[in-house]
C-alpha cells in the first residue's frame, strides 16, 4: 500500500476486553494540505494582499461585529506564551478605534479561524498581525462609509472612537447598529486606510498581557487543565529503543489494577486507559515493566556523531555563489563548528484531549498547526477532515515542533478505542525527553581570505538533517510509525530559501566580494528531528559570528568595528551600534578584568526578520571551566513594535534559552537509545546561571512592517557567549555546548 493509494483498509485496535475490540477505518489519501507560511508561495492575485489576507481575503474571516456591538477577532495563530494574543488585540483595537478589552480574540480552531498554517518561524506578526492590521483598518473604513450614508455626510467629516462613528453635529452610531450580515463579508483590498502612526493609542504601548492573570491565579489556562465530564486518562508505553517492536504483554495483570478501563494495542503501539490519572500512571508502569520487545535502532557511536553524519549521503546545493578573481596574497583561515542534538524540553510534558462521538472527532491540542494536524489525523483515522475539529489550547512553552502533535495522535487513537469518553493523554517526563523530535546535530565549515584587514573571500558549508518533520501526513505522527500497518514517515525535505532550514541564516549579511554558501542536506536521520526555535539559524549564526571574531583577531581589529566595516545594512548597523553603546563596549572593552571576556553577536533572523545584536560579558573559571555570564545587553529591531515589553520578554527569554543550549545542552545516547531521560541527564540553565543583568533595547520603527521577534536572539546570543569565552580564556571553542568539562579541557589547566 502506498501513501497515495485511495482504497480503504480496516485496521484493528486490539483492546483489553472482547467488548473493547474496536476497529477504525483508515483512508489513505494524497493530502494537499495548505501551509501558507514558511514556503515561498506564488501570489495568486495580481496584487498580493498583505499578510495572511492573501490566503483568507474576506474581512469577516478576521473580524466580526455583532448587532450588540461585540467585536470578535479571529486568528489562525496560537498563543504559545509569546504574547501574540495581546499584540493582535492591540492591533485590532488601534485600527478599529476601540478599547482593547472590547475585543474578543479567537485563536487557532479549525471550526472558526482562518488557516494560517503553523504558528512558527517568527511569522505570526507578519502573517496574522499584518492581516488583522489591514482587515481592521478596512473594516473601520467600511463602517465609516455606512455611517456617512446614514447621516448623509461625507465620510471625511466623521470620526470614530469607543466603537462608534460620530458626526460633527453630535450624532453618533454604534458599530453594531451599522453592521449587516453582508457589510464585512467583502474581500479586502491591497491598500488600507491605516491610522497615522503619530495617532497610535494602543499600538506601541506595553500593555499588560491578557493571558497572565489566569496563569498566576491557578485558572484553567492550559490544555493540561481541561476537565471534561467523564474524562479518562491515557498513557502510552514507549519502546525501550525507537526501533524496537512489541513482542508480548501481560495484559491480564494490568487489567486487574484498579481503575483500568482498557489496554490498547495496535502493532507496537501500546497504551492503557484508566479512570483516574495516577491509576493510569501506575498501570502504564506495570505494563511497561512486563512488556517484552524485539530489536532496536542502531544509533551512531556518540563520540563519532559528526563523522557518522558526514559519511551519510548529502544533497548539495549552492545557495549563494559569487566568484571574483582575488589578488594574490592575504591570509586564509578555516574553522569547523559542531552542534549536537538539542531538545525543546518544555517544562510541562505534551498533552492533548480527544473525544470521539458519532461522526465527529474533537481534539484539544497545543499543536502549532491545527489545520495541518487535522490533515494528519484525517489520514490516520480515515475520517474526513470535515469530521475533525482541532482546537488550540495553550500548552507548556513551545519552542518548535515538540511532542504536541504526537500526543494529539495518541489521544485520538485512544479516543477511538473508547468512543464517547474524552481521553486525556499527558506524556511522562521520560517520554518527552526521549521521544520529542530534537533540533538536529549540525556541522558548519567556514573559510575566508583576509586582504588588507577585510574579508575578500568567504565560504560556508553546512551539513544538517531536515529541520521540519511537522505533520501534514499521518506518518509524521510518532505513534503512526508503530501501528500494525504503520504509516510511512514523510520523505525528509529541506526547507527552501529564503527562509531555509539547515541553511537558515547561512548567508551572512556582511559585504563579501567573493562568496560561496553550500547547503549539504542529509536526508537520513539517525535520531528523529524537527524544528527547534531558529532552526539552522542558531548554528549558522553561532558559526558565522564566531568566525567573524576569529577573523577580526587575525586582522588585529576590534570585533565590533570589524563587523561594522563589513556591514552596509543601515538597520543592521543601528542594532550593532546600539548594543555596543548600551553595553559600553568601547569604554569597557579595553579594561577587562583577568578571567573576564566580552563577546558580540549579530544577525538579522533569516535575513528577512528582526535584527538583533547582543553583547555579553562572561567570566571563565580556569580551575573548573565553568562559564558565568555576568551581563548581556541586546538591541533589537522588530519593525513596528506593537508591544515593546512583549518584545523585550521574548528577547530576554531567547537569550537565556540560547545561553542554556550553548552552555549546557546535548542529547546523550548510546548505541540503541537516548539516555537523556530527565533533567538529571539533560541539565539546563538554572537560577544560579542567571546573569547579574540582562538588558534589551527595542528600536521601534513605527509604520514599518512587523518583522517577528521570537527566534531573533538564539544565534547572536550563542556567538556572543562563545566569543566572550574565547576573549576571557584565550581559547576558541567551536563545539557546542561550552560545558565546563569541555572548557576546562580546552584551557588545559
Amino acid at each position: 500500500m502506498t501513501a497515495t493509494s485511495t482504497f480503504l483498509s480496516r485496521r484493528t485496535v486490539i483492546a483489553g476486553t472482547g467488548a473493547l475490540v474496536v476497529g477504525f477505518s483508515v483512508a489513505r489519501r494524497a493530502f494537499a494540505q495548505q501551509e501558507p507560511q514558511n514556503v515561498g508561495e506564488e501570489p495568486r492575485r495580481p496584487v498580493a494582499l498583505p499578510g495572511s489576507l492573501k490566503d483568507a481575503p474576506l474581512i469577516d474571516s478576521w473580524i466580526r461585529i455583532e448587532a450588540t456591538g461585540a467585536i470578535t477577532v479571529m486568528t489562525g495563530k496560537a498563543e504559545l506564551g509569546q504574547g501574540i494574543k495581546t499584540a493582535l488585540i492591540q492591533i485590532a483595537a488601534e485600527q478599529l478605534d476601540v478599547a482593547p478589552h472590547a475585543i474578543t480574540l479567537v485563536t487557532a480552531d479549525t471550526a472558526s479561524t482562518p488557516n494560517e498554517g503553523y504558528t512558527a518561524g517568527s511569522h505570526s506578526m507578519q502573517d496574522s498581525g499584518t492581516a488583522i492590521l489591514n482587515a481592521a483598518a478596512q473594516a473601520r473604513a467600511i463602517l465609516v462609509n455606512a455611517a456617512a450614508a446614514r447621516f448623509a455626510l461625507a465620510a471625511g467629516e466623521l470620526k470614530t472612537g469607543d466603537g462608534k462613528v460620530a458626526a460633527p453635529d453630535g450624532r453618533a452610531i454604534g458599530y453594531g447598529e451599522l453592521v449587516s450580515t453582508e457589510l464585512l463579508h467583502v474581500e479586502a483590498t491591497p491598500a488600507s486606510p491605516l491610522k497615522d502612526t503619530s495617532r497610535r493609542l494602543v499600538m506601541g504601548r506595553s500593555i499588560e498581557r491578557v493571558d497572565i492573570p489566569v496563569k498566576v491565579t491557578g485558572g484553567a489556562a492550559y490544555v493540561h487543565d481541561l476537565r471534561l465530564p467523564d474524562m479518562v486518562h491515557g498513557r502510552v508505553v514507549r519502546p525501550p529503543s525507537p526501533g524496537a517492536r512489541l513482542k508480548a504483554i501481560d495484559e491480564a495483570r494490568v487489567r486487574r489494577l484498579p481503575g483500568v478501563l482498557a489496554v490498547v494495542r495496535n502493532g507496537s503501539f501500546l497504551a492503557v486507559v484508566a479512570a483516574r490519572e495516577y491509576q493510569c500512571v501506575q498501570a502504564m508502569r506495570l505494563l511497561a515493566a512486563t512488556a517484552t520487545w524485539d530489536g532496536h535502532s542502531d544509533l551512531p557511536e556518540s563520540g563519532k556523531l559528526y563523522e557518522t553524519l558526514l559519511a551519510l549521503p548529502s544533497r548539495d546545493n549552492d545557495i549563494l555563489h559569487r566568484s571574483v578573481a582575488l589578488p594574490p596574497g592575504g591570509r586564509t583561515l578555516e574553522a569547523t563548528y559542531h552542534r549536537p542534538y538539542q531538545m525543546h524540553g518544555s517544562i510541562g510534558p505534551s498533552c492533548a484531549v480527544a473525544l470521539r462521538e458519532a461522526d465527529a472527532l474533537t481534539v484539544w491540542t497545543h499543536s502549532q498547526g491545527v489545520y495541518p494536524l487535522r490533515g494528519a489525523l484525517s489520514e490516520l483515522t480515515g475520517l474526513g477532515a470535515e469530521q475533525i475539529r482541532c482546537i488550540h489550547m495553550e500548552g507548556s512553552g513551545c519552542y518548535g515542533h515538540n511532542g504536541a502533535d504526537d500526543v494529539a495522535a495518541d489521544a485520538v487513537l485512544l479516543a477511538i478505542a473508547l468512543p464517547g469518553r474524552p481521553v486525556r493523554v499527558q506524556w511522562m517526563r521520560e517520554d518527552e525527553h526521549r521521544f520529542e523530535p530534537y533540533g538536529p546535530a549540525m556541522i558548519a565549515r567556514l573559510g575566508a581570505a583576509l586582504q588588507d584587514g577585510r574579508i575578500a573571500d568567504w565560504h560556508h558549508d553546512v551539513w544538517s538533517n531536515t529541520h521540519s518533520t511537522r505533520p501534514g501526513k499521518a506518518g509524521d505522527l510518532l505513534s503512526a510509525l508503530y501501528l500494525q500497518a504503520p504509516f510511512p514517515p514523510s520523505p525528509p525535505r529541506p526547507l527552501p530559501q529564503p527562509d531555509g532550514g539547515g541553511d537558515r541564516n547561512a548567508i551572512p549579511l556582511y559585504v563579501l566580494p567573493s562568496v560561496r554558501v553550500t547547503n549539504r542536506f542529509i536526508p537520513q536521520m539517525p535520531l528523529r528531528v524537527s524544528a527547534l526555535r531558529g532552526l539552522g539559524a542558531y548554528m549558522n549564526v553561532f558559526a558565522i559570528e564566531s568566525f567573524m571574531d576569529e577573523l577580526a583577531a587575525a586582522a588585529g581589529a576590534d570585533p565590533v568595528a570589524f563587523r561594522l566595516a563589513h556591514l552596509e545594512d543601515a538597520r543592521g548597523r543601528d542594532v550593532v551600534t546600539e548594543a555596543a553603546r548600551r553595553f559600553g563596549w568601547q569604554a569597557t572593552h579595553a579594561q577587562r578584568r583577568p578571567g573576564f571576556g566580552h563577546g558580540f553577536g549579530f544577525a538579522r533572523y533569516k535575513n528577512l526578520g528582526a535584527y538583533a545584536a547582543i553583547a555579553v560579558e562572561a567570566e571563565v573559571a580556569r580551575e573548573s571551566g565553568r562559564v558565568r555570564i555576568v551581563r548581556a545587553v541586546a538591541a533589537v529591531d522588530s519593525g513596528e513594535a506593537v508591544n515593546p515589553d512583549g518584545i523585550r520578554n521574548q528577547i530576554e527569554g531567547g537569550m537565556l534559552q540560547s545561553a542554556s543550549w550553548t552552555l549546557f545542552e546535548e542529547v546523550r545516547f548510546d548505541r540503541t537509545h537516548v539516555t537523556s531521560a530527565s533533567w538529571a541527564s539533560y541539565p539546563i540553565l538554572r537560577f544560579s546561571d542567571l546573569p547579574e543583568r540582562i538588558e534589551v533595547h527595542v528600536i521601534d520603527r513605527p509604520g514599518e512592517p512587523f518583522l517577528g521577534t521570537g527566534e531573533a536572539a538564539q544565534g547572536p546570543m550563542a556567538a556572543a557567549i562563545a566569543n566572550a569565552v574565547a576573549d576571557a580564556s584565550g581559547v576558541r571553542i567551536r563545539d557546542l555546548p561550552l560545558h565546563k568539562e569541555r572548557v576546562k579541557a580546552a584551557i588545559g589547566v
Partner: protein, 165 residues
C-alpha cells in the same frame, strides 16, 4: 479516605493513600495551579506549601499531607482579588508560557513568610530547584523582590494598626 486541608478548607477524598498530592489537588479538588512537570522533583512546577514549607507535590504521598496545612497558588488570591505575590508577577509581566510560575510563586511565598527581608541573592538561591524553559528567570526574580517589598509594607501597616489603640 484522606482529609486534606487545602487553602483553609477541608476536603475528604477517596484515593489510594500513595497517590502523590499533585494528582489529588488537580483531579479531585480541581486546583490547576500546581503542574506536572517531571514527577521526579527536578523541575519544581508542582511546588505547593505544606505547613509553610515549599514541597514537591509530585513526590509527597497525599496521605502524608493529611492533617497539615496545604497551600496552593489559588490560596494566594483570586483573579479578581490577586494577592501581593500574584500582583507582583502581573506587574513585572513575569511569565511567558507561565507553566512553571505557580510553583515558583509558592517557593517564593514560603521564603518570604520565613524571611521577609530576603535579598536578591536569597531569592535566587531559594529558586534554584525550579526550572523555567522560556527564560523568564530575570523577571521572576524581580517579581519576587517586588512581592517582598509589598508584603513588608502590608506587614508594617498591619503592625502599626495593631499598635494604635
Amino acid at each position: 479516605m484522606i482529609t486534606l486541608t487545602v487553602n483553609g478548607n477541608d476536603h475528604t477524598v477517596d484515593v489510594d493513600p500513595a497517590t502523590p498530592l499533585l494528582y489529588v489537588l488537580r483531579e479531585d479538588l480541581a486546583l490547576h495551579g500546581a503542574k506536572f512537570g517531571c514527577g521526579l522533583g527536578q523541575c519544581g512546577s508542582c511546588t505547593v506549601m505544606v505547613d509553610g514549607r515549599a514541597v514537591f507535590s509530585c513526590l509527597l504521598p497525599a496521605a502524608a499531607a493529611a492533617g497539615r496545612q496545604v497551600k496552593t497558588v489559588e490560596g494566594l488570591g483570586t483573579i479578581d482579588e490577586p494577592g501581593p505575590m500574584q500582583q507582583a508577577f502581573m506587574a513585572e509581566q513575569a511569565a511567558q508560557c507561565g507553566y512553571c510560575i505557580p510553583g515558583m510563586m509558592m517557593r517564593a511565598q514560603a521564603l518570604l513568610e520565613a524571611k521577609p527581608a530576603a535579598t536578591e541573592a536569597d531569592i535566587r538561591a531559594a529558586l534554584e530547584p525550579h526550572l523555567c524553559r522560556c527564560g523568564t528567570q530575570a523577571r521572576i526574580v524581580r517579581a519576587v523582590m517586588r512581592a517582598a517589598q509589598a508584603m513588608r509594607l502590608v506587614d508594617a501597616v498591619g503592625r502599626r494598626a495593631e499598635a494604635s489603640p
